[in-house]
Subunit: 239 residues, 2 copies
């Protein structure tokens, strides 16, 4: 077995930098955020990031923030592509539920083969989105920009399309299964409750009271924007 170009952990760190630095309007990542996301202590993340800087995969100055280099971004995107194609395979072909696929894909994404991924993609009919509604990068690492906001950023009274959910929040995913909420459902943001960030939504003529996690993790696009995005508060999310 030939040595991998990047270690298992190097890949995970690059993916974490991508997720944090390009999430909800941000453009760089701090060591502390990274260490939390990766479940390690700050000095561990710091050491790894210094190594990735040596390898020219990240841009990172002393006491500064971290960004991906072109090469680092390409590697991270390749990982996201693998992750989402595996999730789609597990969901569509092996019939795992959407709260089960993320954890398994965390392992499968590190299998060092682009060819498996390309063949799976074809087998699945070239899907553009994974089971959680997140866009699947193409072979070149490009994602079609996905504009969306969290429900908590929405305006009570308006109609939205539920386009994506957090892929790693098990209990949220199970809550949604229970109420039969799915990607692409039309939902109305009825009202804010003003208590613990809760709110009320209306789906298929039934009101559902949802909690703070739902409000912050579920991503929506407002009806007008389905055709032409122009709301200033909808953010491009890669991950």
């Amino acid at each position: 077995m030939k040595p991998r170009p990047l270690s298992y952990q190097e890949e995970n760190y690059l993916k974490a930098v991508l997720k944090i630095s390009e999430g909800r309007g941000k453009k760089d990542a701090g060591i502390l955020e990274l260490s939390r996301a990766l479940g390690v202590k700050p000095p561990t993340a710091h050491q790894m990031l210094k190594k990735l800087k040596e390898k020219k995969l990240v841009l990172f100055e002393k006491y500064g923030k971290v960004m991906l280099s072109a090469g680092g971004r390409k590697a991270a995107m390749a990982l996201v592509r693998k992750h989402r194609i595996w999730e789609t395979f597990l969901h569509d072909v092996l019939k795992f539920s959407w709260d089960e696929v993320h954890e398994l894909a965390e392992y499968l994404e590190h299998i060092p083969s682009d060819e498996i991924i390309n063949r799976l993609e074809k087998l699945l009919g070239n899907p553009k989105f994974d089971p959680h509604g997140d866009p699947i990068p193409d072979v070149g690492g490009n994602v079609r920009p996905a504009f969306r906001k969290t429900l908590s950023m929405g305006t009570p009274g308006r109609n939205y399309h539920l386009v994506a959910v957090s892929d790693s929040h098990q209990s949220l995913l199970q809550f949604m299964s229970k109420y039969n909420l799915k990607i692409n459902d039309k939902i109305k943001y009825v009202s804010e409750l003003g208590l613990d960030g809760m709110g009320v939504i209306r789906v298929r003529n039934k009101n559902i009271t949802v909690g703070s996690t739902f409000m912050h993790e579920v991503k929506v696009v407002c009806e007008q924007c389905m055709k032409k995005c122009k709301c200033p508060d909808e953010v491009w999310c890669v991950v």
Copy 2:
């Protein structure tokens, strides 16, 4: 991500002990053989085997040979099952050729999920053999005993069924593709050439001269034994 019960390498060592100790009539494995099979130096293998002995996965006395404990054998068999089911998936569903699947399965076999394997098995129609003709252990880790010998152990003049090939010998697998030789082909062992272990076989009314690797790596069952195995020189192979 929860810690694995066994590390990636511990799994590989157990599989190597299984392959060597239960291959062609043997019942234990030496440190030197193991180190060669694993591509490490003898002290490395020695150290790991001591650790596996602590964990009660192998039986191993000072200056003695290595055998699997019941627990170690179960873990090793689980790995072989995963390996062969992944190989079958890659071959049957993703259409990889039989010389490509082994290397990829070396990675996939370590994905820590029994459920993926069970669902793949069902998807594939509960196959009993992998693309190289090797038997797939069931959920309990049992393999149906497979009696077979190498062509070099055969008798010139007799008819055989080609039942299995080495899964890791790329050039042999490519040679066989070239001559359109497949699992389950009926072949006649025409003659021994007495030079470099070469021989001549006859398949579909055409003679093919084959080399030493072919003679030693291709496994066959003689026609009579297809129904009832009784040749004393046919050996039970798990791996």
